[in-house]
Every structure is written in structure tokens, then in C-alpha cells.
């Protein structure tokens, strides 16, 4: 078996695969483990509030707790679709910011935490 292994070394390094898989899964699990319990409720209520002014689906608002040095950061990302702006009666009128500030939210780009 060892001679075969020498001929086909690429089959062998399963330990490296194990290490990479563990690093990814543990990074994810450690982040969610430290998340405070109130996040789901906060997210739900924020969606309700935002939905009074803008058409929004539950998955367009994301709440995260991150960390930068010694500071905990509460991130709230709201994706707003221009086409779905809701006219509001007797309430504050939603005025979209200038086009330069309004940028498409790319769900796949990682949110860059303020340094």
C-alpha cells in the first residue's frame, strides 16, 4: 500500500481536509454561540417597524453582533428595494438618499465591520 501511496500522494492528505473543514465550521459555531439570545426577537420587531414605512420581507433585514477589539458591535443591515417604497399617510415620508449613497446590497458580499 505504501508504494501505491507514493505514486498517488494526492489521495492521502485527508488530515488537511479535516483541519480546513473544522476551522470553517468552528468559526461559524463560535460566532453563533456568543450571539445574545435577544437577536431573533430584535430582528422580528425591527422588520415590523421598518415595514410600516417600506415594503420589506423578513430576509431583507439582518441583525448581527460582531466584535472589533474590545467593542461589541450591533450591526443592522436593511436591504431596501426602491421599487417597493410604500407611500405613507400621516407619517414621516421616506425620502430616498441621493443615488450615490444608495447602493445595491449584495447578499454575498461580507459586511465590512467598521474598524
Amino acid at each position: 500500500m505504501r508504494l501505491l501511496d507514493l505514486l498517488f500522494p494526492e489521495r492521502r492528505n485527508s488530515a488537511g481536509i479535516a483541519k480546513d473543514r473544522l476551522k470553517i465550521v468552528l468559526a461559524h459555531e463560535r460566532a453563533s454561540r456568543d450571539a445574545p439570545d435577544f437577536l431573533p426577537a430584535l430582528q422580528k420587531e425591527l422588520v415590523e417597524v421598518v415595514a410600516r414605512y417600506v415594503e420589506i420581507r423578513g430576509d431583507m433585514l439582518r441583525v448581527n453582533v460582531g466584535r472589533s477589539g474590545d467593542t461589541s458591535l450591533l450591526e443592522i443591515n436593511v436591504e431596501i428595494d426602491r421599487a417597493l417604497l410604500r407611500p405613507v399617510e400621516n407619517g414621516p415620508v421616506f425620502s430616498p438618499p441621493p443615488a450615490a449613497v444608495m447602493r445595491r446590497f449584495e447578499p454575498d458580499t461580507p459586511w465590512v465591520k467598521p474598524g
Partner: protein, 289 residues
């Protein structure tokens, strides 16, 4: 068995001696990684160094420490009997026949696992603390009531881990629980000291890239390494005969546990059994499958 001045239930050691035991938990999350073997070996190793040590089985319903320690036929009363006040601590403790410093505290085989009430456990541990240098707690697998109770009072935790993905992941989980749910965490005391004990390690397989290395596991879990125990036939032989593996001087695993215990009490020991043994030319080319 006298009662020294002001002490409760002095039943081990000389009168007038003062003990305040350190509580060590052997835990892992995952089952079958060698917690009980390691608890028996570490406790026996501490006793060999002259430390008065008791090893407690927290695995209610699946008692096995008594078998590994070779005292299964001497169990009369157990942990639950003592918690419920049906027996005195000195009636339940079993003195090891090989070493005077070593005691085994077996658990119950039959009662339900919720019988380990936290305040009852605390009362028993407090009484043991006065009589021993070390209290070694053998945790059940999982993260349920029994495992949490076993780690709750710990001053120090030995995380028993195999170089394998599910074991490493579960160890990480347990380290998180120690940092948030232990008594030390809940009372804002100094955190539980955690140590990595890597068991069932095969240097040959690591060399072939088939097994996570010590460095890999250390890097992933980022806790200090207490020891590496090689996969060894002597572990099964020792459990067959009910002998903690440190009592077998010829066993590589036994020697590795002796080193780990020495490091635990603060000695510097070089890490053995992490480099493959030298092999003949013949075996290098045609080595075992």
C-alpha cells in the same frame, strides 16, 4: 477515622493535616474518546506522586469507572446513596488496593440520571475537599445534565480529545460551556483552567497525512497541551484486568499519562510519542497496511 480539631468527617489521612482539594473534570462532549481511561490514569498518576486523590464517576446509569479501576466487586454504596443521605461518605469510598492515596467513588447503576442534584453534589464535594488533594471527576458524554453537573464545580478541566473531526468539534463546544456555564463563570471567579489531552494518537497516521496532528488540534482549539497519549494495545489490556494504565510501567500510554500528570502538577516534561518510531528499510517500503 478521627475527627481533627474543627474538621468534619476526617476519614482519610493523618489527623491535623489540612487539605483543600482541587477539583479536576475529565470531559469531552463526545463519547468513547477515553474519558474514563484517562480519569483512572490521571487519578492513579496523582496518587503515585503521593497526592491524596479520589476519582468520582459522574456517569449515573452507565457506571464504568469501577470496572476500569478494578473495584467493581467492592461497590456497596454509591454517589447517589451519599447524596440522598442513605450512606456516609466513608462507607461509599473504596480504597484502592494498589495505592493508599487513591480512592474510588462509584456512581449508581440504576437510578435516573437527574438524581445528581447540584446542591447535593456540592455538599459531597465540600466534604471531600477537606480530605483530599485532588478530586477527579469522570464526566459522562454529551452536554446534558450529568455532564454539566460534572464540570460545574471544576477548578481545572482536562479536555479529552481524539485527533478526529467530531471529537475536536465537541471539545470546542465543551470549552465554550466551561467558559459560560461553570460555577467559576457564573460567579465571575478566575476561569476554569483548561488543558488538552490528545488520546489515541498515531504518529504513523499523522505522518501519512491521515490524522490531524498535535499542532493542528492545538491550533484549532487554542488551549494548552497537557499530553499526547499514543494509541496503544496496553490500554485495552489494562481495562481487561481493571488496572489504571499508569500502573503498567512498560506501557507507552501509561508513560505518557505519567508525563501528563507531571505537567499537571507543574513539572516540565518533554512531549514523547509525537514523533514516529524509527522503522527498518523493509518496513518503510512495505510497511503494514
Amino acid at each position: 477515622m478521627g475527627t481533627a480539631g474543627g474538621r468534619r468527617h476526617r476519614f482519610v489521612g493523618e489527623e491535623g493535616e489540612v487539605y483543600l482539594a482541587k477539583i479536576i473534570v475529565l470531559t469531552s462532549g463526545k463519547g468513547g474518546v477515553g474519558k474514563t481511561t484517562s480519569a483512572a490514569a490521571i487519578a492513579a498518576g496523582l496518587a503515585l506522586r503521593g497526592k491524596r486523590t479520589v476519582v468520582i464517576d459522574f456517569d449515573v446509569g452507565l457506571r464504568n469507572l469501577d470496572l476500569i479501576m478494578g473495584c467493581e466487586r467492592r461497590v456497596v454504596f454509591d454517589f447517589i446513596n451519599v447524596i440522598n443521605g442513605d450512606a456516609k461518605l466513608n462507607q461509599a469510598l473504596i480504597k484502592d488496593k494498589r495505592n493508599d492515596n487513591l480512592y474510588v467513588f462509584p456512581t449508581s447503576q440504576t437510578r435516573d440520571k437527574d438524581a445528581l442534584k447540584r446542591d447535593g453534589v456540592e455538599r459531597v464535594l465540600d466534604e471531600l475537599k477537606d480530605n483530599f488533594d485532588y478530586i477527579v471527576c469522570d464526566s459522562p458524554a454529551g452536554i446534558e445534565h450529568g455532564a454539566i453537573t460534572a464540570l460545574y464545580f471544576a477548578d481545572s478541566a482536562i479536555i479529552v480529545t481524539n485527533p478526529e473531526v467530531s471529537s475536536v468539534r465537541d471539545s470546542d463546544r465543551i470549552i465554550g460551556i466551561l467558559a459560560s456555564k461553570s460555577r467559576r463563570a457564573e460567579h465571575n471567579l478566575d476561569p476554569v483552567e483548561v488543558h488538552l489531552l490528545l488520546t489515541r494518537y498515531s504518529t504513523e497516521r499523522v505522518k501519512r497525512g491521515e490524522m490531524l496532528s498535535v499542532e493542528d488540534v492545538k491550533e484549532i482549539l487554542s488551549i494548552p497541551l497537557l499530553g499526547v497519549i499514543p494509541e496503544s494495545e496496553s490500554v485495552l489490556r489494562a481495562s481487561n484486568t481493571g488496572t489504571p494504565v499508569v500502573f503498567e510501567p512498560e506501557s507507552p500510554a501509561g508513560r505518557a499519562y505519567v508525563d501528563a500528570v507531571a505537567r499537571f502538577v507543574g513539572e516540565q516534561r518533554e512531549m514523547r510519542f509525537v514523533q514516529p518510531e524509527r522503522r527498518s528499510i523493509f518496513r518503510t517500503f512495505f510497511g503494514r497496511a
